[in-house]
């Protein structure tokens, strides 16, 4: 292998670890983009969701000719929705990892900044930056805050920001083929209907709470590196139906606290026991239940296009009221 090849390989490895870091125009907010290392293999379970994303988003990008034969075009944007704490952000990172793209994460505080004193120019700059660091996935968390229904908005400025978002999404289709947008929301029903037109967020994906095996894997992951007695996590997983990943993390935190309390009393290292886990699980309620109660109302009474039918199907299949 030549010296040049070695350098290329080294440069390639370094490139993979590179982060594109820059400041916005005012030099106030740091916008960070990175290349995620997660892929679908790192996402436990959610097989149906992954299959749908592969079919509708990833494969058309990787093999456009094949899909063109069936009249399917690559592009459009993904909208992940579901109860909070069920891994929408992780899934978005995994999608970016699968297509080996940079990842630009826009969170609520950044969106709020755009509303309260800054302008829609910032949104444009953000999309411009994504275009500069392509291939790039822009992940807009809490999309409802940025793309809420314009009819419900009182301020002209708020409506302008939604218009700007629509403009940018349309711009992606026309001017840029390597920038992808993934939105995530807990409340898809608050989104402006214009966002759902073809070429914009046309792939609507429901991300449900983890299933039993996934819950066990999450618990194992969250307990890793902590002092443990022999635990039957499968039992805890069975008893935590409908719990989100965030709920399970909370259970582990409660159990750790209980073990630490014992440690303070005994003065010795106390492992986390099955009883700690069981008590913590019993002391918590799945936070996803409230979400399902609301989603069910929207699915039953306000779902003109049948967008939330899969929520009803999921509820029926899992015995949720």
């Amino acid at each position: 292998m030549s010296d040049q090849d070695d350098r290329d390989e080294l440069a390639g490895r370094r490139r993979n670890k590179l982060k594109v870091i820059h400041f916005d125009k005012n030099g106030k907010d740091l916008i960070e983009s990175e290349k995620p290392h997660e892929s679908f293999e790192d996402v436990a379970g959610l097989e149906e969701v992954k299959k749908k994303i592969r079919m509708n988003f990833i494969l058309p990008l990787k093999q456009p000719e094949l899909f063109a034969a069936y009249g399917r075009e690559a592009g459009g944007s993904l909208l992940l929705y579901g109860p909070p704490g069920c891994g929408k952000t992780f899934l978005a990172r995994a999608v970016a990892g699968e297509i080996e793209a940079n990842f630009l994460h826009i969170e609520l505080q950044a969106i709020l900044g755009m509303y309260v004193g800054q302008s829609e120019n910032n949104l444009h700059d953000l999309f411009e930056k994504a275009r500069e660091s392509k291939p790039c996935v822009i992940f807009i968390d809490e999309l409802d805050a940025l793309g809420g229904s314009r009819n419900q908005m009182r301020q002209h400025h708020d409506r302008m920001l939604v218009n700007q978002l629509l403009l940018e999404l349309d711009g992606l289709r026309t001017f840029n083929d390597q920038v992808f947008v993934i939105g995530a929301t807990n409340t898809p029903w608050y989104l402006d209907s214009a966002l759902r037109r073809p070429g914009r967020f046309n792939h609507l994906i429901f991300v449900p709470p983890p299933e039993e095996a996934e819950r066990e894997a999450i618990l194992k992951l969250k307990l890793a590196g902590k002092p443990l007695s022999s635990l039957e996590l499968s039992k805890i997983a069975r008893e935590t139906k409908h719990f989100s990943g965030a709920d399970l993390e909370q259970i582990v935190k409660d159990a750790v606290e209980a073990a630490m309390e014992r440690m303070l009393q005994s003065g010795e290292l106390e492992p986390i026991t099955q009883d700690d886990m069981k008590k913590s699980a019993k002391g918590r309620k799945a936070t996803t239940l409230d979400w399902f109660a609301t989603a069910k109302n929207y699915a039953t009474f306000s779902d003109v296009n049948g967008d939330y039918q899969n929520v009803l199907d999921y509820m029926k299949a899992t015995g949720l009221k």
Binding site: L108, L112, Y115, V116, G117, G148, Q152, M153, S302, K316
Partner: protein
């Protein structure tokens, strides 16, 4: 100067979060605001307002009281108290708070709207009309107040006026569930069944998560069956009577037409439950888990 701007920015953040119905985040921003400005009554009142929106009325009353400790005539704090009492169905205290609130802020049309609602609860329709007209004097283009006037006119039996007002209200606003709900009540009172169901359909489409709207929509669907409506007619008549008149009517009917009354009651129960079942199946399918 920079500090003042930072405070203003935080106020705007809270308002924005409130508009997005992100109450948890709005509450935490408001607490930050209080931490930074511990003597600012407005910040406490704002926190109370968020709790009113989040339907946590004891907290709303607590924080508005804190605001009033710092500034006894804080308009927002009084606004919060009136709404918190009203929304928690404490009508006696609503009336008391309303008096004080109106003294401090006589040009707030919402207070007339609340007063009209209190009059409706007492069954005093002419007084309700006076109040809602007071609200409209201050805010003549408010579609909700016009919708309420439409309802009050229907209650007073002036159906044509009620219909005209409903049309005016809809010309001004087509995206408010409260407006539709009010217009649905007006239509129901006028006996315009198609309009009634249509208004409820719009309301539920906009806010299916509102329990009251859901229940009224389901009841509206039930009323779309003509036979059920016919059986409801005597009850509508009874609703307009005073309690003693209802008692006397029942006693007379029982004495004179006992078999007929029994047949009516049996028929009513039968039709009530069968139409309820039909509506349930139409909406939820053959699933009968407790909702």
């Amino acid at each position: 100067m920079i500090y003042k701007e930072a405070i203003e920015l935080r106020y705007r953040k809270v308002q924005q979060l409130l508009e997005w119905k992100r109450y948890k985040e709005a509450i935490s921003e408001a607490h930050e605001l209080i931490r930074e400005e511990p003597e600012d009554a407005q910040a406490f009142a704002l926190l109370g307002l968020i709790h009113t929106h989040a339907e946590d009325y004891p907290q709303a009353l607590h924080w508005s009281a804190e605001a009033l400790k710092r500034e006894p005539e804080n308009e927002l704090a009084w606004f919060v108290r009136v709404n918190a009492y009203y929304d928690s169905s404490n009508y006696k205290l609503t009336a008391e708070a309303l008096q004080e609130a109106q003294r401090i802020d006589p040009y707030q049309p919402h207070y007339y709207f609340i007063a009209a609602n209190l009059s409706l609860k007492k069954g005093n329709f002419p007084e309700a009309k006076e109040h809602v007209e007071g609200a409209l004097e201050l805010s003549p283009e408010n579609p909700l107040y016009i919708a309420m006037l439409s309802y009050v006119e229907a209650l007073l039996g002036r159906n044509e006026t009620s219909r005209a007002l409903a049309r005016s209200s809809l010309r001004l606003e087509v995206e408010s569930q409260m407006n539709y709900l009010m217009l649905a009540w007006a239509a129901d009172r006028r006996g315009d069944h198609e309009d009634h169901l249509q208004m409820l359909k719009h309301a539920i489409h906009l806010d299916p998560d509102d329990k009251q709207i859901r229940e009224e929509y389901i009841a509206g669907l039930q009323k779309s069956y003509r036979l059920y409506r016919i059986l409801l007619a005597p009850f509508k008549l009874l609703k307009r009577m005073k309690p003693w008149q209802i008692l006397v009517t029942w006693m007379v009917a029982w004495l004179l037409f006992r078999p007929l009354v029994i047949v009516f009651l049996v028929l009513y129960i039968l039709i009530h439950w069968s139409t309820k079942l039909l509506v349930h199946v139409k909406l939820f399918g053959w699933s009968f888990k407790k909702r």
